[in-house]
Every structure is written in structure tokens, then in C-alpha cells.
């Protein structure tokens, strides 16, 4: 195989990996703090994609500009979900939380189906076919935007959690739940905020991914699993970990596709997940608890 082909495949893997990372950031934030297995992650992202689609269809708003609106809407949805429903099960065993999220996922898919039908839909942008040529490399313009957005969103989240008082409080909750309650933090409200912020991220990811993938109600499932793989590999609750996990999964899938059969490639990401769970269960960039 010619070298430029290999270089192109590796680059495609890197860019895809950044998109994977972007799609997993919200999960990492939520999971890292609340320890809720958000099995409706992909479903929330699909809601975000439909939001961007509606804004495009009715107001001609490009998905990138839809991010603030969709992000705000998803923040509200996420906040309401945690405050109204998930907080009730805060002290319930993990499997009950899982079941609640799985049932919510079923409802969200059904809701999308009722509202938008089973057809795949997309935004038709002038730039949909653009690619940038750098030497032998041909880069897909939309994936480059998505990659930049992934880094920007991760950066914003990082700054928020590191420097904003609310972010610091949320981190305190993540580190020590009882301790946080003892010093007078309103854990439930902070969890709701986290779920909201995580959902806003998921919404932003949905807007960007809509530029790459057509949306339909059954898209969600694979994104949920993918996000879990990425987050566990990178390290739960670590934002840079999510990006690194995404890159690793993207590149290893690309190489598996190149050397073996592309249809085998997600086997490699699950294999990678098993290895990480065994060898470094806190994830590559996670902290040992």
C-alpha cells in the first residue's frame, strides 16, 4: 500500500478520533461527577442533532451557529432530568439508575420517532463536500471543524471546572460526596448543574456531528456504547482523557481497518476497553481512587 494512503488513513483516524472524543466529553463530565451510568447519552445527543436540524430547516441556521441555542436547550433538559428524576435515585443501587436511564432512552427514541419519523435526515451545506489538500494529505473540512470544536469544548469545560467556583464545588462533590455535603454544598443542585452542563456538551457534540452524519432515531445506541468505551479508556471524569481515549480509539480503528477488515474495527475498540479495564481500570489519564 502506498505511503500517502497510509498517511491519509492515519489522519482520517485522528480526526475521527477527535470527533469520538467530542461525543464522549459530556458523558465523562456527568459520569465523573455523579457516577450515574447515563445510558441515555446517545439519545440526548440525537435530540441535540434534531435540534440543530430544526434550526437549520426553519431558520437556515448552520449547525455550528446552532451550538449555543441547542446547548442551552440541552442544559435545561439535563438539569430537569437530574433534578426531577435522577436525584430521586441518588442513593439507589447502580442497577436501578442504569435501568432508569435505559428506560428514558427507550422513551427518547420513541419520542424522536413520533416527532420526526424513521427517515434519516441531514443538513445540506455547501461545504459538505469540501476537503483541504495539504501535501499528500486530503483533509475533510467538516472533520477539521469538528476536531477544533472538540478541543475548544474540552478547553472551556476544563477552565470551568478548574477556575469557576461552581466548577470547583462540583469537583469537590466528585471527589468526596459526604465531605461536600458536610461543608454545606447542595449536592443535588450541583449534580443537576453537572448533568445540565454535560448535556449542553452533548448538545454541542450533536450539532457538530450533524455535519458529518445523517440523523435518525436509531442512531443513539452505537454512540452510547462508543462514548463509554472512549471515556473508560481515557479515564472517567478526565476531560483530556476523553479526547485521548477518542484519539486512541479512532486511530486503532483506522489501523485495524487498514491492516485487517474495517468491519472488525469496533472489535478492537472493545478489545482495547477490556485491556484497559484489566490493566488500568482508572483509565489512562484517570486518577487512582
Amino acid at each position: 500500500m502506498p505511503l500517502d494512503a497510509i498517511a491519509n488513513i492515519a489522519t482520517a483516524g485522528l480526526l475521527t478520533g477527535l470527533v469520538y472524543g467530542l461525543s464522549a466529553l459530556g458523558l465523562s463530565a456527568i459520569f465523573g461527577v455523579t457516577r450515574i451510568v447515563n445510558f441515555a447519552h446517545g439519545e440526548l445527543m440525537v435530540i441535540g442533532m434534531y435540534g440543530a436540524l430544526l434550526l437549520f430547516q426553519h431558520f437556515g441556521l448552520a449547525p455550528l451557529w446552532a451550538i449555543p441555542i441547542v446547548g442551552a436547550a440541552l442544559f435545561a433538559i439535563g438539569y430537569a432530568l437530574q433534578a426531577g428524576l435522577v436525584n430521586r435515585l441518588l442513593h439507589a443501587p447502580e442497577h436501578m439508575q442504569f435501568l432508569l436511564m435505559a428506560a428514558l432512552a427507550i422513551m427518547l427514541v420513541a419520542l424522536c420517532l413520533m416527532a420526526f419519523g424513521p427517515n434519516a435526515q441531514n443538513v445540506t451545506l455547501e461545504s459538505a463536500y469540501d476537503s483541504v489538500e495539504i501535501g499528500v494529505l486530503i483533509l475533510d473540512a467538516h472533520r477539521v471543524y469538528a476536531g477544533i470544536a472538540a478541543i475548544a469544548v474540552a478547553g472551556l469545560l476544563f477552565v470551568f471546572f478548574r477556575y469557576h467556583p461552581l466548577g470547583k464545588a462540583i469537583r469537590a462533590c466528585a471527589d468526596n460526596l459526604t465531605g461536600a455535603a458536610v461543608v454545606g454544598l447542595n449536592v443535588k443542585r450541583l449534580f443537576a448543574l453537572t448533568f445540565g452542563i454535560g448535556s449542553a456538551c452533548i448538545g454541542a457534540a450533536g450539532c457538530i456531528i450533524l455535519m458529518l452524519v445523517d440523523v435518525h432515531p436509531y442512531l443513539a445506541n452505537t454512540y452510547t456504547l462508543l462514548a463509554f468505551v472512549v471515556v473508560i479508556i481515557g479515564g472517567m471524569g478526565s476531560l483530556s482523557g476523553a479526547l485521548l481515549g477518542g484519539l486512541l480509539v479512532g486511530v486503532s480503528e483506522a489501523l485495524a481497518g487498514l491492516l485487517l477488515q474495517p468491519s472488525l474495527k469496533s472489535m478492537f475498540s472493545f478489545g482495547l476497553l477490556i485491556l484497559v479495564l484489566i490493566l488500568r481500570p482508572e483509565g489512562l489519564l484517570g486518577r487512582r481512587s
Partner: protein, 409 residues
Amino acid sequence: MPTTKNRRPSRRAVIAGAAGLAFAQPFAIARAQGAPLKVGVVLPRSGPQGKIGQSCQQGYDLALPILKELGYPEIQYMPVDTETNVQRARAVTEKVIQDGAQIVTGAFDSGATTALAQVCEQKGVPLVINIAAAPPITEQGYKFVFRNFPNGVRIAQDALNLQRELYEYKKDAPKSAVLLHVNDTFGESLKAGLLGLMQRIEMPYKFADVIAYDPNARDLSVEIAKAKATGAELLWTVSRLNDAMLLTRELIKQRWSPKAVVSSGPGFYEDQYLKTLGKNGDHIISLVPWYDPSKPLTRYLLERGAKAYPGINIDTNHVYSFEAALICADAFKRAGSADPGKLRDALAATNIKNNVSIGPGIAFDAKGHNGGLGNAGIQNRGGKLKVVVPRAYADSEPVYPMPAWDKRA
């Protein structure tokens, strides 16, 4: 019946065809039925295949008024939903029979259809399969199962022969090819069939690579990059709708214009694809079970379809669902009753000449399979679908080689 190519079929010609059939069965006419035949229509109306189920239902719905005009007795649908799930398919088939269905039709998907076939056979209620290509379905020695759809082997065989005809006609053939197929039930069985046949049928090219991709693929950049690196002149795909769209965009973005892109299976001819891709979806050729545009009933169906569903192209899903309804009504007419045993015998003796699909007509062999059905090469042209091979009844000239992506008006 005159079938000159460019003559529009009059309603009279179509009905005369049916009447000719009716005269052969004078007694059936005399015993015109009172109550309509209850037809259980089992389709994936929700779940991942929900869109396809809805297309099939349009085909069934188009049939009702046309069958009436053709003088067939009334049939009545009992719609049920498999939810794209084999377990559900079994239960809902039981239910629709319990609720009084006298004949069952469906179910697009091979797995679900297998479940339907078992239930129908056990109950002694005839099943008319609209779409399902897996060969084993009619190899089980069933008495009540009838399939009016080419099986996977025939689809693969025709795909090779149609291409040979195309390349000979254009006196130009690709010298190397790459097969890119979705790794699902349909893709895998078609690939196996193709690779087997390639040993026996002389083709101008060999496959430089055979690439399989995940049915849930979110991204086909690696797949296309790998295919492009082979430098093949022909890209042969077996795909579904969503990946067909992903795949085309990826071809354009990676600036790879092979001499031809051919497709076996759905995706490239679907309305959603044509609407979304516009001019970039043009000139791709699908080698699929299709309608014969020269048949009068086809023209009539297309005309009615355009009226009932403006902006939607009639495709495989519509055609074979329409014919399934036709087969049910025809058997009902000849059986003269809704008794399942008599319906079965009438189905076994089916001999419909005035139909839509490619081939001599509708008749079933001892296994309940219609082996005469053929495929056609359909080329996308400005949002319309044109039959370009077989040349015998093509309605358009093929465009080959395909114009490069950046040289399209």
C-alpha cells in the same frame, strides 16, 4: 398485447390483459365473492427498517384501487408491525392470523420472514413473501409459503451478467474492481454468492480487494481510503441507505472518481439518497430486482404512483409489495373462496402474465419460489431512475464512464 416501447399504456390495454386472464377462468368470475379477503400485512413499520416498511406499505396501498380496476375481488389489509425484531415478527403473525387474516404477506427482512414462514406453515395459512432474498426460506419443503422475489444467488448472478452486457455495449470495461460491502445479512450472503460466481463467470476484472464494513458505521473514511488505494476502476458496493450517503460524500471528499460505481442492494436508488445527494448521486448504477418499464401494468403503476405519492420514485419495495397484493387477489379470485387450503392450491397454480417485475411473469415452482424473476441496471439521472440494462427493455442510454465529481454541471 402490443408492447411497443414508447407507447403509453392505456387503461384499456391494462384491463384487457386482466380480462384475458379472467376469460380463462369463467367459473371463478361467476362465483364473485361477497366478503373481502383479509390479508395480514406484516412489515417492519418501526425500528431500524421502519422507513422501508413504510415504502412497502405504499406499494400495498397503491395496489388496492388498481386491483379493483383490473376486476379482482376486494381485499382488505390487516397491518401489523414487526418492530424490526424476529421475536415480534413471530408473535404478531400469530396474532394477525388469530384476528382472522386468511392470507399473510411480508416481511421485507429475511430473518423475520423465516419466522413468518414457520407460523404460516404451522397454521396452514398461505404466506406470500414480498421481499426476502435468503435462499433457505424456500428450501424447507414448505407447502404454504410462496416467494415472488429473486433469491440472493440470482441477484448476484444477474449483477455480473448485467455488467458484462453494459461493458460490451459500451465497448469499454474496467480492468480492476474493489468490492465494498456492508457486513450484514444481505451484504454477507451477496458477497459469498458473488465471489463464488466470479470463479465461473468470465469478467473483465478481478477484485483487487474485498472490504467489509460495520452496518452501524458512523464513518467510512478509512474504508474509502483503503478502496481508493487499490486504484481500482470500478467500485462495487453492497450497502443500505445511510451508508450509501456516507459513502458517496466520502468519495467526493477524498476526490476519488472511479470509472463506475455500481451497487447491489438498496441505498443508492432510494428517494432520500437522490434528494440528499442531488447531482452527486447521479450516474451510479444499481443492479437490483426492479420493474420492467416496457410492461403496460408497470406504466400504469408508475402513473398512479406519481399521482398518489408525488416526488417519490417507485422502487423495488413498492413493486414487489404491489405484486404480493396482486398475487393474493389473483389467488382469491381463482380459489373462489377464502378457505386457506383452496387459496394455497390457487397460489400454487398462479400464472400471472400481466405484471410489473422483470421476467416472464408470476408462477411458482414446486418449492414455492418464482425463479423467473430478473434484475435490471438502474442509473440515477437528475433525481430520476432510468433502466439502462438489459438493453432489451432499457428506457435510457447508459452513461459510462461516470463523469468525475468535480466535472458535473
